[in-house]
């Protein structure tokens, strides 16, 4: 079944690949971004200013409504029962006691659940959103330890939670494949990601490695991780006639509406998903069973349902990052120029999803090596489907690659930054495409100077402060520029001169509403308070994923297209009495509350005047963004140079990060205040990745053993030093607004920078995350 999914994915990839070759050789001017976005040249607008969040007062006063906070008339509360076995059958379910408990309205199991289709799994179609493609409470079959097997509905949460304990289920357990080593021994196969096999060979890397005068060859491992957004996954769902209304916490509202409609066999317009605020996502707030179970239960009971997962419930039914075992082998000449770059290994997925942790992706464009051998193999386990978590692939892949670069630098006796500079490629080393904009050298230079890198001792274990050993490390961070198809937006301008931009996008804390209001204000020639940015509603235009660090580009391209359509429409409305009469759309720009001739700004008419003369209350246009061909024409990536200082206690082994600097090259920064928070947020999650985070998985039972925020450790205030952040602010000439993604890059490179600093402090190289104190004693 999974092989079929891979085959379908590969076929799509092959079609894209064939088209990609044509796109690669086409002239620049045919591409989206072939001409720089006019906003790049506009240096004195709203873009680039550190505006405080426009939704800030709502959030700090607790007035921003999250998914579990929409009251509904007659609402029932749900509580879930999770399977304690990894694989098997339900032999018997006794719900009598639960149903008789006070306040209980219904107990839903596979026996009485409404019949629906399985979810379309993410990446299987343009709007597919499912974390897996398994049936939801339709059969007596159990497929992972933690799968929901019953939903109790009651008048209050307390009643539902109590009645849940009264559901009696007898299981027949079957042998499950949950042990990573056992699965590897049984055989793995080449992983596939977004239509491409995760395998690439250029030249004979094995021979080049064997022949290289200097080489290192190391193995690294990273554990499972969970997103752990502080907001619990929650949903309030109601059927209003034939329409299903869901208040969700979502980073893909349009995908979710379509996918749930497929499952219930109804039109996608009959499913309305709203998600105005999301309490953290990081890849985890997508379509899992809770939205579907709440919708089914609402149908069964004929009442609106609120389902808030317990923290344990989030671990049981929302997938996280998969474990990886990686090998990096580097061969170089004595000057440090790479002759061979081998990055391979194995990760775990399930047969029910299309997501293999693609840990080689960053390696594809990182360094100019003469030969490459990159390979990800996957095994399929009987577990909850793994999924995307902040910088899937890059977060853990850069830990291995950038630790290895540090090891090579030491083997060569070269400064690790200098080693990276010597291997800086002029074009993409594996695709051969030109870079759209790559200023890694500038990021390293500025970062090294600010961090005081020249104070670092090349020899480990040389700096001591009392009982603490002190060290510095660095690593490269990188994340691709993506822009996914499906972006569309609507712009409406009223006769009063107020603009509304509508797009089914998301605000999970990235500052979307604020930054996009700045962009729209500049694009339309209006003040910030003359623009309303509406988002987080599946009935708005566009299929926009808040993921892959692509939302800003996706919105930017869609609003730019809508602006083009708006200019055309306004010129039509303006007619022959306007100073704009006779101008073609591409001769016209927005400025000072209206339109003007691009090179003759005084030839101008305001929106108010145009609409007033036409006696029109408003004008509204909708347009789709062009296909994202630019990503096949240029090699497009955000870049970073990460610097870390650690202190390791010689008595306890305790590692503490004392200083951190991220020096970024991510195109133009739209809002320095919110961008700083994005960068810091990624880095801090990277500190967790480096030092403490691990989802502990019982390889005998297939059960997550630390499903709580007490036992899964995330960085707390005391773990977080002041994180310094700088950037080049060099616009990318080929992206909307000149910006590239900033949401995920912060977590890339960070773990390696910490590990390399720990090596510099202690002389101990830890290749197995997280680097807990027991590994340093």
């Amino acid at each position: 079944m999974s092989i079929l999914k891979d085959a379908k994915d590969l076929l799509q990839g092959a079609v894209q690949g064939a088209m990609g070759k044509a796109v690669a050789i086409a002239p620049d001017s045919w591409m989206p971004g072939g001409e720089p976005d006019p906003l790049i040249a506009m240096r004195h607008g709203h873009v680039g200013r550190p505006h405080s969040r426009i939704d800030g007062p709502l959030k700090v006063s607790g007035s921003a409504p999250f998914a579990a906070e929409f009251p509904m008339e007659g609402m029932a509360y749900a509580s879930l029962v999770f399977s304690p076995i990894a694989k098997g059958r339900i032999l018997e379910i006794d719900t009598t006691s639960a149903e008789a408990a006070p306040g209980v309205l219904a107990v839903m199991t596979y026996v009485n659940a409404p019949r629906i289709s399985p979810p379309p799994v993410f990446l299987s179609g343009a709007k597919a959103a499912g974390g897996d493609d398994l049936p939801v409470m339709q059969e007596d079959v159990v497929r992972w330890n933690g799968e929901p097997v019953a939903v109790v509905l009651a008048e209050t949460q307390e009643q539902a939670d109590h009645a849940r304990s009264l559901v009696h289920i007898v299981y027949e357990a079957r042998r499950a494949l949950i042990d990573f080593a056992e699965a590897k021994a049984a055989g793995s196969r080449t992983a596939v990601f977004m239509g491409e096999p995760l395998h690439l060979e250029i030249g004979d890397a094995d021979k080049a490695l064997a022949d290289a005068p200097v080489r290192i060859d190391s193995s690294y491992s990273t554990p499972r991780h969970n997103h752990n957004a502080i907001e619990l996954h929650a949903v309030t769902a109601a059927w209003e006639g034939d329409t299903l209304r869901i208040h969700d916490a979502s980073q893909l509202v349009a995908h979710t509406a379509w996918s749930i409609a497929q499952m219930f066999g109804i039109d996608e317009k009959q499913v309305v998903i709203t998600s105005p605020f999301v309490g953290g996502g990081f890849g985890g707030k997508c379509l899992w069973q809770h939205q579907v179970l709440a919708s089914m239960a609402a149908k069964l009971a004929g009442r609106p349902v609120r389902l808030v997962l317990s923290r344990e419930g989030v671990y049981r039914i929302v997938g996280g990052r998969s474990p990886t075992e990686q090998r990096v082998a580097l061969g170089a000449d004595r000057e440090g120029r790479l002759k061979a770059l081998v990055h391979s290994g194995t990760t775990a997925k399930t047969a029910s999803n299309m997501m293999a942790e693609p840990f080689i992706v960053a390696t594809k464009s990182a360094y100019a090596s003469e030969t490459f051998k990159l390979d990800v193999r996957a095994v399929e386990l009987d577990m909850l489907a793994n999924t995307f978590m902040r910088a899937p692939g890059e977060a853990v892949g850069t830990f291995a690659l950038e630790s290895a670069m540090d090891e090579l630098a030491e083997a060569l006796g070269i400064d690790p930054i200098e080693l990276r500079m010597r291997n800086e490629p002029e074009k993409d080393p594996t695709s051969g495409l030109p870079f759209s904009s790559r200023n890694v050298t500038e990021a390293w230079r500025a970062g090294a100077q600010r961090f005081g890198w020249d104070r670092r001792d090349l020899v480990p274990r040389m700096v001591r402060d009392g009982e603490w050993l002190v060290g510095m490390g660095c690593a490269t961070g990188t994340y691709p520029y993506y822009r996914m198809p499906g972006g569309a937006a609507r712009i409406t301008i009223t006769s009063g001169g107020h603009a509304t931009v509508d797009i089914a996008a998301h605000e999970m804390g990235m500052g979307t509403a604020t930054a996009q209001t700045q962009v729209a204000a500049d694009r339309l020639g209006l003040a910030m308070d003359e623009v309303t940015f509406r988002y987080g509603d599946s009935t708005l235009p566009g299929v926009v994923l808040a993921g892959g660090s692509q939302q800003t580009a996706s919105i930017g391209a869609a609003v730019s297209a809508a602006h083009g359509a708006l200019v055309k429409e306004l010129l039509k409305i303006a007619g022959n009495d306007s100073p704009l009469a006779g101008l073609k759309p591409d001769e016209v720009a927005s400025r000072d509350g209206g339109l003007c001739k691009r090179d003759e700004p005084e030839r101008h008419e305001t929106y108010v005047s145009i609409l007033g003369r036409a006696r029109q209350a408003s004008v509204s246009v909708e347009a789709e963004a062009p296909m994202p061909l630019e990503t096949q024409h240029w090699s497009m990536h955000s870049h970073a140079a990460m610097f870390c200082e650690v202190r390791v206690n010689t008595v306890t082994g305790e590692p503490r990060v004392s200083r951190f600097l991220g020096s970024f090259d991510c195109g133009r920064i739209l809002n320095p205040k919110t961008a700083t928070s994005q960068f810091r947020g990624g880095i801090i999650m990277g500190l967790g990745l480096a030092l403490m985070e691990e989802t502990q998985f019982d390889e005998r039972k297939g059960r997550v053993m630390n499903p709580s925020l007490s036992e899964y450790h995330v960085p707390v205030h005391m773990d977080v030093p002041e994180i310094d952040v700088i950037w080049t602010d060099i616009p990318d000439p080929h992206t909307p607004m000149g910006a590239r993604g900033i949401g995920e890059i912060g977590i890339t490179g960070t773990a390696a920078a910490v590990a390399n600093a720990i090596y510099n402090a202690t002389g101990r190289r830890v290749r197995d995350l997280p680097i807990t104190l027991d590994k340093l004693l």
Binding site: P57, S61, S63, H227, A229, V278, G681, P715
Partner: protein
Amino acid sequence: MTITVNGAAVSLPNDPRVSLLDLLREDLHLPGTKKGCNQGACGACTVLVDGERILSCLALAVQFEGRSVTTIEGLGMPGALHPLQAAFVEHDGFQCGYCTPGQICSAIGMAEEIRRGVPSHVTSDLSSETIALSRDELRERMSGNLCRCGAHNGIIDAIAETFAPKTALAEAAE
């Protein structure tokens, strides 16, 4: 049986299992207090009871008869924010905003603990009557409030700006 919430007397629930958090969120429709774990691990549900910070998810509502609870809604609203709320906006002390009400309530309770001279793990001089409002003190004392977006620096900046000058003034007066 009543409890005072943001200055208004309200009835306690009949069901003794109802936590103070669920009373606020579900019965009183004050969802500003957040549920992040419901087991005392994340701090998102922090409220002030008679001026002291507590985790409302670990508190049964019926235990708080006659007590006075202040939630984020009671501190300030858009247009009339508490100085600490305004400082959070200015210093970008949040991203998604979900842990924010708990961080703010916790910080207000914490500042009062420092004012009273309650020491922490990082307080170097336990005999001192005044405790300096250093970043380490703030970080240590705020570590029970998790933030997954990584707004830690902005949170500490906002707290330091709001409370440090007053404490310095108080010290000067003594």
